[in-house]
């Protein structure tokens, strides 16, 4: 088990950035760890609601949640 997980659960199905995943993540922070996402520049949203960086460890995920993980990109 990777260090830093709040607890282990059975895998759940999530839609992450438009793709289906099945992962044993309990919180948004778990999910980022599992997917090996790192960086203070990431923004996360669950089911269309922003999840602040400070809230990721306590934001619990549910089956079929839609998660967006965004980062800075070129723009006009």
């Amino acid at each position: 088990m990777r260090k830093g997980f709040s607890e282990r659960k059975c895998p759940m199905k999530f839609t992450i950035n438009g793709e289906e995943h099945e992962l044993p993540a309990t919180t948004v922070a778990d999910l980022l760890l599992l997917l090996e996402y790192e960086g203070e520049w990431l923004a996360t949203a669950v089911n269309g609601e922003l999840v602040h960086g400070a809230d990721r460890a306590r934001h619990r995920l549910s089956e079929s949640d839609r998660i967006e993980i965004l980062s800075p990109m070129q723009g006009g």
Partner: protein, 257 residues
């Protein structure tokens, strides 16, 4: 120099960061443009954070203020959520608000724009709305709490230049004290000079610089044109007239026949 939401600017050029041939060329274009505001975006990260991280570092090193956008959003809810996520990432209340209403022209959905602007200003955002040149929409955006307006002059990326000078002139006259930035559709420095001659406060550009053969040189050319247009507006220009007027005095002319 213009002031946007109480912040003094050093430049009248806002530069987009998309579509440059390389990060190094982007950096050089930003430096030679002498801009202090660049627009940036947010997209789905696919590389564990590394892709966004590299771009984030590049922008930090440039030492300029960022204006995050909601590019590509077609609904109010999408634009509002993107703005909130951008504030989280870039730690700024500034947002270039785009709510796109038409696939071909990328024309703003002005109804959604006003609604999203009202929601975002209510949450403390300082909104830079990408809008049309419609005065009624402009009024509604100001009523929604916007303190800056960004009318298009032609469709995004089209390089067509100002398509409706009368409308841009009317907007300047109608809102003499509102900072106005022409956004979208500028193709060449003469277009930028033209809108600055109308008395606009600034110009936002991207493709015209990024798509040039030498983006850094083009960025400098735009900076010069924008300053020239601004100076010309301040200096007061002649109005065109139908008939010739001799520029050399007629009095004292020799008579040879």
């Amino acid at each position: 120099m213009p002031q946007f939401y109480g912040t003094d600017m050093r430049s009248r050029l806002l530069l987009g960061t998309a579509r440059y041939p390389s990060p190094a060329i982007l950096a050089e274009a930003v430096r030679r443009s002498r801009t202090d505001i660049v627009t940036v975006s947010l997209r789905r990260e696919t590389a564990g954070g590394r892709q966004g991280g590299a771009f984030f570092e590049l922008i930090r090193e440039l030492g300029v203020r960022v204006l995050p956008n909601t590019a590509g959003c077609h609904s109010v809810s999408e634009a509002v959520l993107t703005a909130k996520m951008a504030r989280e990432v870039f730690a700024t209340d500034w947002i270039k608000l785009e709510v796109i209403g038409h696939h071909d022209t990328l024309q703003p959905d002005v109804f959604g724009l006003v609604e999203a602007a009202r929601i975002l200003t209510g949450e403390g955002f300082e909104v830079f709305p990408y809008t049309t040149d419609d005065l009624v929409v402009a009024e509604r955006l100001l009523a929604a709490g916007c303190q800056v307006l960004m009318p298009w002059c032609a469709p995004i990326g089209s390089a067509m230049g100002p398509q409706n000078l009368a409308a841009l002139r009317a907007m300047r006259a109608e809102f003499p004290d509102v900072p106005l930035i022409v956004d979208a559709g500028i193709g060449r420095p003469s277009h930028a000079a033209t809108v600055m001659e109308l008395g606009y406060d600034a110009v936002l550009l991207n493709t015209a610089v990024a798509g040039a053969d030498d983006p850094a040189a083009m960025a400098e050319a735009f900076a010069a044109a924008i300053e020239a247009g601004h100076m010309a507006h301040g200096a007061g220009m002649l109005e065109p007239r139908d008939m010739a007027v001799p520029s050399t005095p007629v009095i004292g002319k020799a008579v040879f026949s």
